[in-house]
Amino acid sequence: MSHQPVRPGRSDPKDFLAIDALLDDDERLIRDTVREFVADRILPGIADWFEAGRFPKELALEMGKLGLLGMHLDGYGCAGTSNVAYGLACTELEYGDSGTRSFVSVQGSLSMFPIHAFGSEEQKQEWLPRMAAGEVIGCFGLTEADAGSDPSSMRTHARRQGGDWVINGSKMWITSGGIADVAIVWAQTDEGIRGFIVPTDTAGFVANDIHHKMSLRASVTSELVLTDVRLPESFMLPDVVGMKGPLSCLNEARFGILFGVMGAARACYEAALDYAGTRIMFSKPIASFQLIQRQLVEMMIATNRGMLLAMHLGRMKDAGTLTSSHISFGKLDNVRTALEVSRTARSVLGANGITLEYPVIRHMNNLESVFTYEGTNEIHTLILGQAITGIPAFS
């Protein structure tokens, strides 16, 4: 290859490293389609939904029609896109709001994925097409009030009675719990931890929504209570026993998150850049002050770096070389980066930064949840610590 001289010139402030050029045609088209969907259907309503504490459930069918739900799964009504395409869709959704991205993550990666990966053929036929269409909404019950970072200490259990399973226990902090038609519930059994497909209209199942949240307000978070929930054998996921089941779902969802949060970061950076260019103080746009320029540049660099990391991990996932500790790297670094960007943007916007007129404080508050769920910063640090030292330091 001939030596190419470095071209002088400016770069696009909104795609500084020309990451767009890393995408193939399908990926670009999927990204642009989700971007347009978010601009048309999410951005106009999101401030109101956030303030009202409401998830726009009516969007589920529209998302299904587009192909967003379980998009990277094959067959059963799913589109079967690349992992990078799935990641890019998460980025665009979370540019809108972490709540709408969470809904899609929970539906595709946490509810459909376990059925797709560990379900029987009958279970797949029964649930996946309707879930892909958005007609059936799923949720994922792993965490309990007293089992968070250490989910293997869960107390929810299932016992065999005749040919049936009887499940007792409760789950906490469950996204989409109160609007779900079906819950993937993980429970202790004599054989180890097992997954169950629990229709939410089964007798003994109750979902109580959690109110007074200051984060992910445009998303439903609930407690699930299971009292003598009786289900036939055919509602148990046959092909997995142990923590491998829920953890492999989490890996899928974390992959979406490490792309997704860069959408939230980009929204905050763009809002700050636009604002700094037009806000006049001391007779000048505030973008002309060195201190503000530094903040803008830090946000720009952080957002581009995070997106490059996501693309790299995405290409590895498509090539089959991605490990769960790579995902921990991405989840840990990209979420904390996005949170920092959102806080910086909040400061650049001054008083306007605390209103829902601008997206930044909404993203900033949302990212606090994203920081905690799907493995906290500390837990991913410990995973990485074990990966490089060989020594587990969890307990």
Binding site: D26, L29, G67, A79
Partner: protein, 258 residues
């Protein structure tokens, strides 16, 4: 029913256009996108095809470049595409464009031809009417509403003061305005399938067009000079002392906007 929808790939409108210093045509970069206004014609074509069990064929003349815009249109649901891709077409004006598209449409034996009203990048706004003339079809232009009953097309035709109700029997050509229908998003399944859909790429000669009738030679026109539009002058400033709104209403009335 066979429906042909004319679509165009254009340079990304978000990037500044360059004009060729000799031909004065818009320079076409390798990366092109679907002209956004074509999505209305595609949507209408898909709706009519779905209602009648017909097919939608995209017809385009695209001298150079990728097929991303065509793929986007296929991803919306069109069945196949014919892209006349031939270096001999460089420098073609509106009449040659119409001639090429008409030849491609004739080969498809379309019952209905749908176009936009004009392209976004460079346009004369006459290609739809020229295609109709060349194919000897009735042209129902500037449609803001379209219904098909059997083989009768009924169209509300946008005019300066309102609309005309016009109708024609198939085969026919209609040009649709933005807003006639709400274009659908391409679905992900559609995007994944678009690559497998046939994209026929004939040359002008394959369509039976003589070299002398296409390209710069066949156009019968040259763009002799291009000048930038004059800068806008300052406008009118109205100082508001409580009555400014009346002044503005008067201005709008004079401009026949209200």
């Amino acid at each position: 029913m066979k429906i042909a929808v004319c679509v165009k790939q254009i340079p990304d409108p978000a990037t500044p256009y360059a004009l060729d210093p000799i031909t004065h045509f818009v320079v076409r970069p390798a990366e092109q996108v679907l002209d956004d206004t074509d999505r209305y014609g595609i949507e209408l074509g898909l709706q009519l095809a779905e209602a009648s069990g017909g097919t939608v064929t995209l017809v385009s003349m695209s001298p150079v470049g990728n097929l991303q815009g065509i793929r986007q249109a296929l991803a919306m649901g069109a069945d196949k595409a014919v892209v006349v891709n031939d270096p001999a077409l460089r420098g073609s004006g509106a009449l040659v464009t119409a001639r090429v598209l008409a030849a491609a449409i004739a080969r498809e034996e379309a019952d209905l031809v749908i176009t936009g009203t004009e392209s976004t990048d460079g346009y004369a706004g006459v290609v739809p009417q020229m295609i109709a003339e060349l194919l000897d079809l009735p042209a129902l232009t500037f449609a803001r509403k379209v219904t098909l009953e059997g083989t009768t097309l009924k169209v509300e035709r946008q005019t300066a003061g309102g609309y005309d109700e016009v109708e024609a029997t198939l085969p026919a050509l209609i040009s649709v305005t933005s807003g006639a229908v709400e274009p659908r998003y391409p679905t992900f399944k559609g995007i994944m399938q678009a690559k497998q859909k046939p994209v026929d790429q004939p040359t002008a000669a394959d369509l039976g067009l003589e070299p002398a009738t296409v390209g710069a030679a066949g156009s019968g026109q040259v763009i002799s000079e291009v000048r930038p539009a004059p800068e806008r002058s300052g406008g009118v400033k109205i100082k508001d002392e409580g009555e400014a709104h009346l002044e503005i209403v008067k201005l709008l009335e004079r401009a026949k906007v209200i």
